[in-house]
């Protein structure tokens, strides 16, 4: 197994220019989601911009409750009431749809059903909960093939077999029920299921969080292989930023339902702009490199019902100043000549040193 630093996968499109000029396969603009609860409307996601180029791996990082899953599920309109999409646009530009793309927020339920999975598939976090306990694997893989592809029986059989081969599971397991499989197998089945109809975008919602580290590595390596071969774009949602630094092409940081920084993995790692990203990076050690004191981020994530005005990270930020409560959270370039690196904090420069902490001692390994 290669060491973390060596697994530099995720070089997706053929050339850098192609990546820069090709239209995004999934483009989320100014997207907002609220929950219409009994105690009023709660804004879970505010004015988020996020785009995915064909074949690109984009990581979406943030704490629990930051709205990452809400954002991804909302973009597919899979959220249930009382969730409401209150603004923005989600355009999908796959090869199979009409040129110019389709606006997901304006599709009819029928069109949406045709688009789902065929074009945008999802790998859920907990495979045990996401698989129907009373159906065999072949039924669950099969029904999505039946819903979207028009295959004859033999072709469908072949496809099912090849899907299992693809993720390295014995074909006999098609006849198994979910509870008869191990955790790693179930997750692989989920991945096979996601790829069953050759989607162009695969959203992975914390796909390996529930697994132990060894299995985690194996599965991620397999996903990387598959991605290189089939060239689908990946939106990888996780709270584990260190993971993203290895596998993602670009990373987007979400905090309090708002986008605070986006950039390539390289830019985020070495040219960290936003104080939140900095705080996260300071929270885990690297395998190599000098020993240093872990800082963590003091405080706790904001309650969406009671958001501070302006920048949601203000209360916990070391660089905070009075102007933070009136900032408009627009993403602006963080460095010169790096158009892909954007940050929502107009005050902190890349590489700026942190002010000394006001409290007596730094909090060790503050869990995020």
């Amino acid at each position: 197994m290669s060491t973390p630093e060596q697994t530099a996968v995720g070089t997706a499109p053929v050339t850098e220019e192609a990546a820069a000029t090709a239209l995004p396969v999934l483009e989320i603009r100014d997207f907002s989601i609220s929950f219409a609860t009994e105690s009023g409307n709660v804004k879970a996601v505010r004015n988020v911009d996020l785009s995915l180029a064909p074949g690109e791996i984009v990581g979406l990082a943030g704490e629990s409750g930051s709205g990452k899953s809400t954002l991804a599920l909302g973009a597919c309109r899979l959220l249930r009431p009382p969730a409401v999409i209150t603004g923005g646009s989600v355009v999908y530009r796959g090869r199979r749809v009409a040129p110019g793309g389709v606006e997901i927020l304006e599709l009819t339920p029928h069109e949406l059903r045709a688009l789902r999975w065929r074009e945008i598939a999802i790998v859920f976090q907990s495979a045990m909960n996401a698989l129907n306990p009373v159906l065999r694997v072949e039924a669950q893989l099969g029904d999505v093939i039946d819903a979207h592809l028009d295959l004859r029986r033999e072709e469908k059989r072949e496809r099912l077999d090849s899907l299992l081969d693809m993720v390295g599971i014995p074909r006999a397991r098609l006849r198994s029920y979910p509870h008869e499989l191990s955790g790693g197998m179930r997750q692989r089945i989920m991945i096979a299921m996601a790829l069953a109809t050759n989607p162009e975008v695969v959203i992975m919602d914390e796909p390996t969080t529930a697994l132990d580290v060894v299995v985690q590595r194996e599965i991620l390596a397999e996903v990387a292989e598959l991605q290189k071969e089939l060239k689908f774009a990946v939106l990888f949602i996780t709270h584990d930023l260190s993971l993203l630094l290895e596998i993602a092409d670009r990373i987007a940081m979400l905090y309090g339902g708002q986008m605070v920084e986006t950039g390539t993995a390289e830019q985020i790692h070495h040219g960290t702009a936003h104080p939140y990203t900095r705080g996260l990076l300071n929270s885990f050690p690297s395998v190599r490199g000098p020993r240093r004191q872990l800082a963590g981020i003091p405080g706790s994530p904001p309650d969406p019902r009671d958001m501070p005005p302006g920048c949601p990270f203000g209360p916990r930020c070391r660089f905070a100043r009075p102007e933070c409560s009136t900032v408009d959270m627009q993403l602006l370039p963080a460095e010169v000549d790096e158009p892909q690196h954007l940050t929502a904090c107009p005050f902190v420069k890349v590489g700026e040193t942190e002010p000394a902490p006001a409290a007596a001692t730094a909090s060790h390994g503050e869990v995020l």
């Binding site: 999975w117 907990s126 996401a130 009373v134 159906l135 999505v144 509870h179």
Partner: protein, 327 residues
Amino acid sequence: MPFLVRRLGFYVVAAWAAVTVNFFIPRAMPGNAVDTMMAKFPNLQAQARRALQAEFGVGHQGSLLHQYWVYLGNLVHLNLGTSVSLYPDKVTSVLASTVPWTLALVGTATIISFALGTLLGILAAWRRGGWLDQSLPAFTFLQATPYFFLALVVIQFFAVDLHAFPISGGYSLGLQPGWNWSFIGSAIDHALLPALTIIATSMAGWMLQMRNVTITTIGEDYVLAAQAKGLSSRRVIFTYAARNAILPNIAGFALAIGFVVAGALVMEIVFSYPGVGFTLYNAVQANDYPLTQGIFLVISFAVLFACMIADLVYVLADPRTRTRQAY
């Protein structure tokens, strides 16, 4: 399949318990069972008296254990004794003529209410806020209404006021039971009101149960995954949501059987419907111990049998039971 084996063992124990309780009923009652019976029916001959004494352990019939053994032996030979109030009919023949009526009425009514109730429950859970959900209070009221009260109201309205249906009985007087159309037609005519009353009240219970479980199931990840897969609504509702939601209901069927039987018994009494319940009632009033015991035994075994079927269906429906022990 250790699960089924354990359940079978349980049913054996339950059957034994039913048989034993049955054995003790007349012996636990105050007074001398035989004397009570003889007092009610002075025409019984001396032979009958001796037979009854033997059956109920009065006089010097040997130890309790010996009597129990004799009793079990009789059961195995399907000898349930002779009815006192319907002398000289044997208990088994009385049962043979009454059980089919109850089966027809209760069996059909239960199947219909279960099917209807479950279906409506699924719909109510799927379309929350729809008219089904709005009429929940009405269904709650129906579920809480005692069967017989509804029966009284129904009789008043349909039978007495509107003369649309017969008030009581299993079939019109003067008709001979047999497989001819006029008899069957009359039987159905007489069974409609009782059946409708049973269906109306028990359907509400099934519906509310199913609705609650389905709502919880819809919140599960695999239903969301099914929607994300772009499957048709029908498949999501039935193959993913309902198929899982119905499992606790099948498991709860065993408990519900008790209520169904109870309701049906009372219904028969209200409508004087010639089934097992009505006969039991008359037997108890007449202190006819042999018949009472026989009917109680039959009812117990029927309930056990229905529970067994429900268990079997559950094992077939939930693949997790085939590997795990826990129920």
